[in-house]
Amino acid sequence: MLRNPPVAPTRAVPAPPYRSRLLRHESRMAYAFITPAMGLFLIFTLLPAVFALFLSFTNYDILSPIKWVGLANYERLLTDDLFRRGVLNVAYYALLYVPLMIALSLSLGLALNRKRPGMALFRTLFYLPAVTSSIAAATVWTWMFQKDYGVVNQALDVVGIRGPNWLASSDSAMYAIVIVTLWQGLGSNIIIYLAGLSGVPTFLYEAAALDGASPWQQFCYITVPALRTTTFFVVFMSLIGAFQLFDQAYVMTQGGPGYATTTAVYQIYSNGFTQLRMGYASAQAFVLAVAILCVSLISMRLNRDSGLG
């Protein structure tokens, strides 16, 4: 679970006079309070991050000792067609997923924001998929995407469309994954948009309506600019999630058919843990992590006022 909560400004604390015995005692206790959390942070976040960089310059298969190989892993990465495929697949996925996610969650958020009876019920229904595990969801959808017995194709049949063999065809497998992840991700983003919409002052709409602005103009000139920060947040989180796509590709297609749904994380997992090329997999992980970090930092730079930077 990757989270990026907004950071509130720090309350000013007067410069502490460390001479006082109470304060000395207080700070000793404070260190005791934070030690478990910071210790775990050291062992399972900071140390691994540094260790990953080191491993990426080595060959290691767990059984034999670590061997330093310099930049060999990175050189090999440049010609690794499978890893490139994994990265391209993730990029393709993100290109489909992120715009659809914005369009759908924004329009449903706007719909639920209207003052009409039953909106609370719809909100609950739309959020429900976000609660289920990605594995259980992918399992059920795999069954629904079956060519002949599947619900999806039989439903399409009703409207006269002949559905593809979703998961067995390299043309449609990625679409199936996009559908499942959209289904699961929509709920939380709708709620984030609803929260964003609740912050748009209503007098702006009233004033615009008085000036004769059409609903479409109100949407373009009031709603969209007011939701800039929210949209940025949704894009940002969706993008970071997309980069790390794994569960659905593992359960629904095992990366196939062919290599149509192999993702970058899938490649890292199979290199590191099924073929025990830990050094090489670390190099791949490091490249992916740097890419994610770049996206994070660039988007924070672009949105200094969004409360995230």
């Binding site: 478990p36 959390a37 449903l108 969801a137 947040f233 569960d247 843990f273 997999a281």
Partner: protein, 295 residues
Amino acid sequence: MNRNLRWTPWVVLRESLFYALLVGVAVVMALPFYWMVVTSFKPDTDIFSEPIRWIPQRFTFEHYVKAFTLVPFSRYFWNSTVMALLGVLANLVLGSLAGYAFARMRFRGREGLFKMKLASLLIPGVVTLIPSFIILKSFPLVGGNDLLGHGGQGLLNSYWAIVLPGAAGAFAVFFMRQFFRTLPDDLMDAARVDGASEFRIFWSIYLPLCGPALATLGIFTFQAGWNVFLWALIVFNDPKMSTVQMGLQAFSFNHQTDYGPLMAASVVVSLPVLIVFLFAQRYFTQSISFTGAKG
């Protein structure tokens, strides 16, 4: 309600279209749940019927029995429950301890250390997978390891492998800190005058005021722990340690899938978090809008 709404034909049409659209989306959102539940109660002969039987004619519980007898699903259920609950406990205790210190206590390096902890949210999980695996495997003096961490499997294949790395997430610390900051200072001063220890002030005065925050954090952490997959796949290779999420894989052998029991198992896997959600809906949606966190 909108007082200016006049029921002209145009408005009636617009409002009907609006509701038709929402109902359509709701059907798509609910369909997988419906299909999962319905399939799990259908006898085998009805599962593969054409055209589809949307409303089952006959009910059976045999798939639920099978789900628990074909594979050791009750064992998986126990594993997932224990690990998710331990995760919740650890995050609530350690997260509120650290969150309290960062919010209310004065010490050198407070802001720097907090920012460092918060920065771990920026480190994507994928980069720590392999090193964390190696660290767990070579933990000294456990799981048959010697002092240098050689010889055994360390903490792999134990509950610790799941619980420890996520025991004090940056999110938990951040979330609790934000909450503790909203509480008044004078409670602390009064307690100090009475000679209460720092831990006592935290434990018996401030922590009991955190009910809603602890509930929200607990729900999020439970959901995260229950749904762990990739990490479990990596640190467990002993079938006895499988989680429910990994257990779902056990129903497909050699491209043959037993859909009845698989759907029954999926229902069982989905239920705990679903039940928690329905009871705690208000907390869930409120804190998503508060933190922007996704489940």
